[in-house]
């Protein structure tokens, strides 16, 4: 039996999602059409709406529906501090930790030399413009502690340090409340290498 064209098209479109192969796409399509047509309508509407209204904040580059997002406009934030994170989820984690009162810049990615993602692909020029507005004094690098996150942090520090901006990197080591017995060897080894004076 030949699959109708519109069904084929739906299955093919669902495959653009990460981790969705032909089988999963087919399962999703049948579910939406057969079991949950209301859900399917909601999904279609939400997608169109999000695509039409969402854009990148002029200041922090995260998703927003207005020109500059609420967080960037908040008078309670310290605008001399700028924290660089890879993804919006990282920004949310930083906020949940209640440890930081400055502003953010979301890269929406990271340098990944082996995948061909270079400084141009993640628009580091926008970060430079943001960080050199004359108000930002210190840039806190909170990219991931993966090799790609480290490469990104290094590149950004090479970009900003010559422009007279203080660049700092969040620390790494044992987790708070962590026990040596249960920590992974890589973390422990690096924590010993990066040990500091107790004064």
């Amino acid at each position: 039996m030949k699959t109708p064209t519109s069904l084929d098209h739906l299955i093919e479109s669902l495959r653009c999602l990460p981790g969705v192969g032909p089988k999963s796409a087919q399962r999703m399509a049948y579910h939406l059409l057969q079991r949950d047509q209301a859900g399917a309508k909601r999904l279609a509407h939400a997608l169109t709406h999000a695509l039409d209204t969402l854009r990148h904040c002029e200041k922090c580059n995260s998703f927003t529906e207005v020109e500059v997002c609420d967080l960037c406009l908040s008078p309670k934030r310290d605008d001399s501090l700028l924290c660089v994170v890879e993804m919006p989820a990282d920004l949310l984690m930083m906020e949940q930790a209640h440890c930081y009162r400055g502003l953010y810049f979301v890269l929406m990615g990271r340098l990944s030399p082996l995948d061909g993602v270079g400084p141009r692909e993640i628009h580091l020029d926008r970060l430079v413009r943001r960080a050199t507005d004359g108000i930002v004094q210190e840039v806190v690098l909170a990219t991931n502690f993966t090799v790609e996150g480290e490469a990104t942090a290094h590149y950004i520090s090479e970009l900003l340090t010559p422009r007279g901006i203080k660049v700092t990197r969040i620390a790494r080591g044992l987790p708070v409340g962590g026990e040596l017995e249960h920590v992974d060897s890589g973390t422990l080894a690096q924590a010993v290498l990066e040990r500091r004076n107790v004064s």
Partner: protein, 241 residues
């Protein structure tokens, strides 16, 4: 049972060259192992937050890996931290990416290169501890080409077999070797001294370093075909900042 044992390998010294996300929570890990060369492994569940191998599957760190399977894509069973290699940072890290890109693009899968593995290990140690990165990279490139079967002829002229003279000018012709500068128009121009320095890995002369870089770039481009090297561009971008 017998079959399963045959396809299982335990505690193989190896390095992670690159990882790609795979399905919802897994990773494909491209590794360079001492005895089995470059091969892809799937690390099931490695992207889950509590995964035991999550913090271990880092590039540039010596690991002992166990895997099983008969297909091209084998399954990672366990990874053990071997240690002794500080994490690469800053420029050294970008140089490390360059080594990995060369290995990913020039080594064939399942082709063992034990000498090259040991040399890669030594090179990573040097990158972490020293700052003469250019000399370290040139030496690695030379060894890599040699291991791939494209060893460079450096101290003798191609064709005639005459000893290279430090004061003379030469051209290095790809897949042939050095010829006297007057003998043609093809090839990379360099001094006799550069050739002799490269032969003994002496990179103290800045001209040798500069001409050696041009020579290696031409040779590596030739063997890569038309594949671009992304890390080379990144190193260039960094230098221009």
């Amino acid at each position: 049972m017998v079959n399963a044992n045959k396809t299982r390998l335990e505690d193989q010294p190896a390095y992670v060259l690159h990882t790609y996300p795979y399905r919802e929570t897994s990773l494909i890990v491209e590794v360079f192992s001492q005895e089995h060369g470059r091969l892809p492994l799937v690390a099931r569940g490695a992207r889950r937050p509590k995964s035991a191998v999550r913090g271990l599957l880092l590039s540039f760190q010596p690991l002992a890996l166990s895997w099983f399977g008969k297909n091209e894509l084998r399954t990672l069973h366990s990874a053990e931290w071997q240690g002794g290699q500080p994490l690469l940072q800053g420029k050294a890290l970008i140089c490390g990416f360059y080594l990995n890109e060369l290995l990913l693009k020039l080594l064939h899968r399942d082709d063992p290169h034990e000498q090259l593995f040991l040399y890669y290990q030594q090179t990573l140690q040097e990158l972490a501890r020293r700052t003469d990165h250019a000399a370290i990279l040139r030496r690695f490139e030379k060894r890599l080409l040699q291991e791939l079967g494209y060893a460079l002829m450096l101290d003798r002229e191609a064709g005639t077999g005459q000893q290279v003279v430090a004061e003379e000018g030469y051209r290095y012709v790809i897949e042939h070797g050095p010829v006297r500068q007057s003998a043609g128009q093809n090839g990379v121009e360099l001094r006799g001294k550069t050739l002799l320095d490269l032969a003994v890995d002496d990179y103290t002369d800045p001209v040798t370093l500069q001409q050696g870089k041009a020579l290696m770039r031409t040779l590596i481009n030739h063997y890569l075909g038309d594949q671009p090297l992304h890390t080379r561009q990144l190193l260039k971008d960094l230098q221009q900042l």
